[in-house]
């Protein structure tokens, strides 16, 4: 495993470059197909509202997949990740428009808390 960042370049407190990840209904349909998670709360507005949600929400695992990119894009080698955990605290609501919300995933503010450890050379 060879991360492109070397151990000597990193200090405690280093803040990774923040990124913004767009998510629309089309994104969720594509993720449903790729992941096999076809729960209708992620694509059927009527169903989502019937179960008490404000609208269709993103898959938590979609958000988790985006959040780790802050680390993998920076490290270079996704195989350097040795541990990754999140807590889902607030759903990402995705309205039926071309904009959607923005899942922003900087090191500090985000809809879920994340912890990551990576292996370094």
């Amino acid at each position: 495993m060879t991360a492109k960042i070397s151990y000597s370049d990193v200090e405690v407190g280093t803040e990774l470059p923040a990124q913004t990840f767009p998510v629309t209904r089309a994104t969720l349909v594509q993720y449903a197909g790729a992941s096999g998670d076809f729960n209708p709360i992620h694509w059927n507005e009527k169903f989502a509202k019937e179960v008490g949600l404000p609208d269709v929400i993103a898959h938590g695992m979609f958000t988790m997949a985006e959040a780790i990119r802050v680390v993998t894009d920076w490290a270079g080698d996704p195989g350097a990740i040795v541990e990754y955990g999140v807590r889902f605290t607030k759903p990402v609501v995705v309205p039926n428009d071309d904009q959607g919300p923005r899942s922003r995933s900087p090191a500090r503010s985000r809809p879920s808390s994340t912890t990551t450890r990576s292996a370094w050379t």
Binding site: Y31, G36, M64, T72, P78, I81, E83, Y84, R87
Partner: protein, 150 residues
């Protein structure tokens, strides 16, 4: 109704092997919009020291969650899945999942708690390859919301 505590520690039989395909990895990487070449280009993956293309870190959840279905749908446990939300998710990797892996999952109920009428279920999925080597462990916390809002 609170879940039966006697299920804590119960381990379910390993799943049939899931074969990780290159095109499935590509499809997943495209769905999450991740253009890292380690997911699609075997040469790029080899330059990083991997024998073949690797899967994004959360790819394996599709496999472990399907395996957790054994627990979630166990009629004896009696979890009300229509009220379940995903609380926490964690992975610890021995190595990345890669194309050609044939993976089995062994699910264990780690904890059952009841909090303010919510049932909280912790499931651990141990993922092994065809040689029996450990690849990754997935911890999934599911919360079944109380049937009646207090």
């Amino acid at each position: 109704m609170a879940l039966d505590q006697s299920f804590v520690g119960r381990t379910y039989p390993p799943t049939a092997p899931y074969e990780v395909g290159r095109e499935k990895i590509r499809e997943f990487a495209e769905a999450v919009g991740d253009a890292n070449p380690a997911y699609t280009d075997a040469e790029a993956a080899k330059e990083l020291g991997h024998p073949d293309v690797i899967a994004p870190p959360t790819f394996v959840f599709s496999i472990t969650f399907k395996a957790a279905g054994q627990v979630v749908q166990d009629p004896q446990l009696g979890l009300d899945y229509s009220r379940v939300v995903h609380g926490d998710q964690k992975f610890a990797y021995r190595r990345p999942v890669r194309a050609g892996d044939r993976l089995t999952v062994t699910s264990t109920i780690e904890a059952i708690k009841s909090l303010a009428g919510n049932d909280i279920l912790d499931i651990r999925g141990e993922v092994h390859d065809e040689a029996g080597e450990h690849v990754v462990t997935a911890w999934t916390k599911l919360v079944a919301r109380a049937a009646e809002e207090a």
